[in-house]
Symmetry: C2
Subunit: 121 residues, 2 copies
């Protein structure tokens, strides 16, 4: 049986869901330029809560996209790094980021048109 993302029972759709997750994308992007500590990530990704950051990192770790390395020191230090698999996703994800920024104006213009068109009933 071939993977079919349109089929909700297929694992490839679950993978798609993870990729699509807003926080996952932002965290992967933040890790693009190398290893980061937990606090670094928390500061960089604006608006993410501790809970969601931890949850997102666990998910990425579980899916083999990120490694988690705990250093036994005081104060504690935990490093997060993209795996090879995670880096293989980087082109795609940064492509999304690029699309979002370059087409932002067009999208906003379209929204304005739609909203005024609709407000006139």
């Amino acid at each position: 049986m071939e993977p079919d993302p349109y089929d909700r029972r297929c694992g490839s759709r679950q993978v798609l869901d993870r990729i699509g997750d807003r926080w996952s994308v932002l965290v992967v992007l933040t890790l693009a330029d190398g290893t980061k500590r937990y606090g670094d990530l928390a500061r960089r990704v604006d608006g993410i809560s501790q809970k969601m950051l931890t949850q997102t990192l666990r998910g990425l770790e579980r899916d083999g996209l990120v490694t988690r390395e705990v250093h036994a020191s005081v104060p504690p230090r935990v490093d997060y790094t993209l795996t090879a698999l995670g880096r293989s996703l980087l082109d795609l994800v940064s492509g999304l980021e690029a699309w979002a920024t370059t087409h932002l104006a067009e999208v906003e213009a379209a929204r304005d048109r739609y909203d005024t068109r609709m407000s006139g009933h």
Copy 2:
């Protein structure tokens, strides 16, 4: 001020959110090979509810990614088509689909490893 997807107040992040949406991705992919009717989409995208399909299509239309064309006929017929802007997203989105299917096995293997590793405390 430059678009910054990491900033939650920035529009580019909202654009990123729409791209990342699971249903949006699947609907755009379904429209890749041309115009589709509402019912076609509902049948193709497994598990989507009427509500979410309509909502997703409205969102995509508002953002200028698809056009909605109503034919005054009985029975009614509504066609959805990707705009130029929507098609410009196609490479990226099909890239996501391809990544999900080709790396599915790796991700599932990673999950198994993680789960067994964690179950042993």
